[in-house]
Subunit: 268 residues, 3 copies
């Protein structure tokens, strides 16, 4: 297995910023480095979206994968840099919450001390290239996390919306609308399972905002083309979709919207 | 030569789906795997466009290249998965016509039997990650095509438009308008050669829709900037272009439009 | 270190053109080839933008990196192909000015003689694939620059705008507006340093077009969210930005606009 490094940024692909990052990684990293673009289309400065994407993708990567996450509106200010280890993988980026969803009792984190690993000049506007990429290259070369800075026990945590659970209703929040218009919420399969036994699932109905109540199905093709449905997506998040259509557009849903699940009462 | 794998999807690059595919391929594939993005910008669920792109790109890749094609509106339904071998290359994807243009007497195809090669859980909405990538990783590891499923002799074939040929006219269909606005048709160089000797080509005129009749030239710069012309493109398909301009916009041409070729009659 | 090759084109990522280039490079290049997308989003046929990007990115890449630059509106016409060596890196592309900013007394350049290194057919519309990629693959295999053609001493040079310097004012031109809306000019840090001692910098004010006069700060976060400022960007070019906002939009700035720097006179 080569040394895999993923890149998550809000740089887009029009400019040279991603290429500059990669140049530094190739120059400082190990010979067997393999770079994978996770995405460069995070909304400009959308830290929460980045945190979500980081969370969705890493379980698919092999152990020892490293991840560079550069969504950094506070670049050059007093915000610290962060490197952390979770499972057998590593992350490096600004300490602004982009790694929020990785943090648990097993996560180790250090606050970056650039003077310990940066030799060249550091610009005030591109720490991705001048601080985070060199830090990640060190880890990729096999350095221990602790060589990059001192342990920190209070990394910035985003205030992440949690679903509200009551006896007859589950209320969540839309986190993301993907390229196909699938509307993805913060309600996981595990939450639904803890709420209702699967025998009740055929009677669950889901709506986003003021949209129609939709059945919970297994796959897009379970409903007619153009029809809406809810399903548990490939990352185990409850989503609302339209078969061969765009649910975000059809139901006017955007991040932050409310998504509700209820149990259809069988007639008396 | 390393093990080259190309990826063709309609996932776009905003979401984490492509990265998840790649994570699986790196985890399950050979150590010398090299991934090449063919495109992720296939129109959402546009199977025919995918088939065209698959056809245009593969001749440029070295023998033994493998191709993953995931444009899959029917994911989770009864549609089968398909793997095929053509020349010295392999393809894996849904059996919905995306490989239509590879099918000839020499092509071998199997209908995927996921239970023979998938160990983890299979989601209902992301077979690209859970079925096709593992299948392709197996082939990349050197497994024989037949280990992935049983031979199939009736893969889904798209109904592909064929040009109409008469004595004085050739009528084709627009397949694709590229980023530059070049309008690409289903009329190949071979079809024109079979129709008229090259000595007649200077008298050929081409139009798309109700646009003006344009001369057949060799390269864009053969006409003035802003002027339209027809030429045989780099994949040997007849196209209509505007030098330093956008023919699709200028002539209002989109996939499905008619493209005609006629012979200019010399004055009596 | 593997053999790194960057790609800069105006092909976009919707079509198969980039993949075709890559296929040829993998087929003809060395086994340890590593391809890096610099960008494929150069504005269609914008040679000057390509020249700027080439200039911004190469210093970040390790010695021996090779660069393929295909922004080629004159493809198929009489324009020549060019390969050049600068520092320890190489470039290949059309001789239309895309390499303008690399040219100095130390740069060696040859005019491509395709008959010396191309074996297959050459299309009239895709020299990137049929001429430049094969040329670059040769260099990547270790061939000397001079095997690709005869030395040329007059490569096409773009007429690059230079800043005007007077005692109290510096006047430059906007070269590029990046994804974040940062407005990047042709005034470098070195030009400002030669003009005014850094002790005067706190009194410098910068404006783009008829926009407001903005202070020169160190990083985006030095001003309030939504406020404009000037700063020296990560490639040492003076730029105008809005903290967490889009300066291009807010100040109506586009490439070609004027950017002025003046010294604020302290009150009498």
């Amino acid at each position: 297995m080569r040394t895999l490094v993923t890149l998550t940024t809000d740089f887009g692909t029009r400019d040279t910023y991603v290429a500059q990052l990669k140049g530094v990684l190739y120059a400082l990293g190990p010979r067997d480095l393999e770079l994978v673009d996770l995405t460069h289309e995070i909304g400009a400065q959308q830290v929460m979206e980045a945190a979500l994407f980081v969370r969705a993708a890493w379980p698919r990567f092999p152990p020892k994968t490293l991840h560079l996450v550069v969504v950094d509106p506070g670049v050059g200010s007093a915000r610290r840099g962060l490197a952390c280890a979770h499972g057998e993988q590593h992350w490096v980026g600004p300490d602004n919450g982009v790694m929020s969803l990785l943090m648990d009792a097993t996560t180790r984190a250090v606050s970056l001390a650039p003077e310990r690993f940066v030799s060249g000049p550091v610009s005030a506007t591109f720490h991705g290239r001048d601080v985070f990429a060199p830090a990640l290259a060190r880890l990729a070369q096999g350095a221990a996390l602790e060589t990059l800075g001192d342990p920190t026990f209070e990394p910035v945590q985003l205030c992440w919306p949690a679903p509200h659970i009551s006896r007859y209703e589950l209320q969540g929040t839309v986190l993301h609308v993907d390229r196909f218009g699938n509307v993805i919420s913060n309600i996981t399969r595990a939450v639904i399972e803890a709420w209702q036994p699967t025998s009740v699932w055929p009677r669950l109905r889901v709506r986003v905002g003021n949209g129609p109540w939709l059945p919970l199905v297994r796959c897009y093709a379970d409903v007619a083309e153009g029809s809406g449905a809810a399903l548990i997506g490939s990352s185990d998040w409850l989503e609302v979709a339209v078969n061969c259509g765009d649910a975000g557009q059809q139901f006017g849903a955007a991040p932050g919207a409310t998504l509700e699940v209820c149990v259809l009462q069988t007639g008396a």
